[in-house]
Symmetry: C2
Subunit: 349 residues, 2 copies
């Protein structure tokens, strides 16, 4: 899922986002509730029509940004109090309030408010954050089930538990008992080494029902996506294709390219003939020029390319799964990227 | 003509520029010769393929930017020496060199190197700049006529003469004797009051052949365009639609709108139903949000809107001329913009 933080995938029209093959986008509850405000978005007809996106939208709970962006976040059983990163206003977010905001935004998939412990944390802190995450998930579900929106908006639970597989399983079990429409794995990709992320992902998915979507939040590099699919993940969101694109990095089947590099100066080849970006005919030489001259079209073109690259990678992965050759596909891809497949794929397959 | 300074109309793909109705764009010789370099552009196949624009391109001579952007510009009969505004390199530009650069870029319309006197200047300085402009125009024409490019690239002369109609006529006569494919009026819109610009434009066009394009350089506001068409001008270029768009100003038939204004906060209307921008369905409320959140899509959407507004204004002007009701059209438009038509239209019509 491309990330449209404040109601726009940065630099792109929704028509362009559609052209990359994206089917669903993510909106950030924290950002949108601060600006322009979820009440305003609701009065104007909801996020879909506000930003002119006809496809599905997933909204996060706001929790992750509070713990990473806001100042002075304080957690109590009731919820989280924090100061806005924009104007320092003192605000708070409870499980019920997160539901209200997401109902105002009118997303198709809402996420429960979870308690994200910093990594590393003592086992006791991890355990308590899991218990609170389950209690908050229940409050979210109860609040949402009572409302008028429950039929049109799906609600996903979020598994926490740090790097402790016992806690992860405990949290997954608690959430599955509550019966959510889908399950996310949260609290990863926050600085731990990739093998740790793979270990925890692979140790969590077996406890989530296969017939419901399994969503790894905030991940990641192309190699992380395949490694996680191999461990049972169905959905991802990440700012990497757009953020790295804005910074001049293009993902390709031969590995990432730094567009400012002198070697592209006279290279008339497109970035990648097989990536169906709407701007795929632009040459590397021209893209390099745009970045050297700090022209907006450079970040735009690479955002489009990277989103199309990610979407196409997922499409190829789905096709490989359907053809029962997913692991072969992964091995080819890791070798193409110049990586050792054994670093990424589960052992014993 | 939309302005594509360094080989890109800022923030827009060429496909989007095409969708605004633009038929020809302008590239800046000064900027492109410094970065990425006209020799590089030539090796890569010329500016059209470099930036992926299938329509015509006009390049300026580089003179205007040297006088406005570069440091320490010094004029001699041979040409202009100056320091690059990017890295301070000492460079020079002669009439012949300007032709070479524009031949390297491969534009469809090239402009002669002219001598732009600062306004106000003593009559003697204006006179000398006119004489030099004519001599340089001849050197440009001679150089271009000798080359292999003369058949595929048209060359326009540029009339100088400050605010002195006698000098303007003298310069126009000198250039018309040299027989250019089209004629530009330069050295205006540099800070003089609009009525002065209209007076000089209206006092110059009668001395330029009606069967050749007449081009007023660097103009301007929508009201300036109609006022200048009424005085015989056929072509314009200006950064105003894109630059003002990036800064949050939208041109409409009811006058300009400042998109950050609080009054747009809940306004679900599009900017202007009749302006065929590719993003015309976005609401004012959403556009305001994009500018308040400093999102790239705001400047992009308003650049598209303003270019489409300008193109559509010119289309309506052409239709009014064909229907023999151009002055009526102008009067309606000035009243629509809340302006007094008599401030803009020539007297005695």
């Amino acid at each position: 899922m491309p990330v449209g933080t404040v109601g726009t995938v940065k630099g792109l029209s929704t028509e362009q986002v559609r052209q990359t093959g994206a089917q669903i986008i993510l909106g950030n509850t924290y950002h949108l509730s601060l600006r322009p405000g979820d009440d305003l978005v609701a009065r104007l007809g909801g996020l879909h029509s506000f930003m002119d996106w006809g496809g599905p939208i997933l909204t996060d709970s706001g929790g992750f940004q509070i713990f990473s962006l806001a100042k002075l976040a304080k957690v109590s059983e009731r919820g989280v109090s924090f100061r806005s990163h924009i104007d320092g206003r003192l605000l708070d977010l409870t499980p019920e309030h997160s539901m209200e905001i997401q109902q105002n935004l009118g997303s198709d998939i809402m996420m429960v408010l979870d308690h994200l412990p910093p990594l590393p944390s003592p086992a006791e802190v991890i355990k308590e954050s899991c218990e609170r995450t389950i209690r908050w998930a229940k409050r979210c579900k109860d609040f949402h089930a009572d409302g008028a929106h429950s039929a049109s908006q799906a609600l996903f639970g979020i598994v926490q538990g740090g790097l402790d597989l016992k806690q992860r399983r405990h949290c997954a079990d608690g959430l599955v008992d509550l019966d959510f429409a889908g399950y996310a794995i949260g609290g990863l990709s926050v600085g731990e080494p990739p093998p740790e992320m793979y270990r925890v992902t692979g140790g969590t998915t077996p406890f989530l029902p296969v017939e419901r979507p399994r969503y790894l939040m905030g991940v990641g590099r192309p190699e992380d996506l395949l490694a996680s699919i191999a461990r049972g993940v169905d959905m991802f969101d990440c700012v990497m294709p757009t953020r790295n694109g804005r910074n001049g990095l293009a993902f390709t089947d031969a590995g990432p390219l730094k567009m400012r590099n002198q070697k592209h100066r006279e290279d008339l080849r497109p970035l990648d003939e097989n990536t169906p970006s709407p701007l795929r005919h632009l040459s590397r030489a021209y893209l390099r020029h745009l970045f050297m001259a700090r022209e907006m079209l450079g970040p735009i073109a690479l955002s489009l390319h990277n989103l199309a690259y990610y979407q196409n990678l997922m499409k190829r992965a789905r096709e490989a799964i359907a053809a029962d050759r997913f692991l072969d596909f992964c091995r080819e891809r890791y070798l193409g990227w110049g990586r050792d497949p054994n670093e990424f794929l589960p052992t014993g397959l």
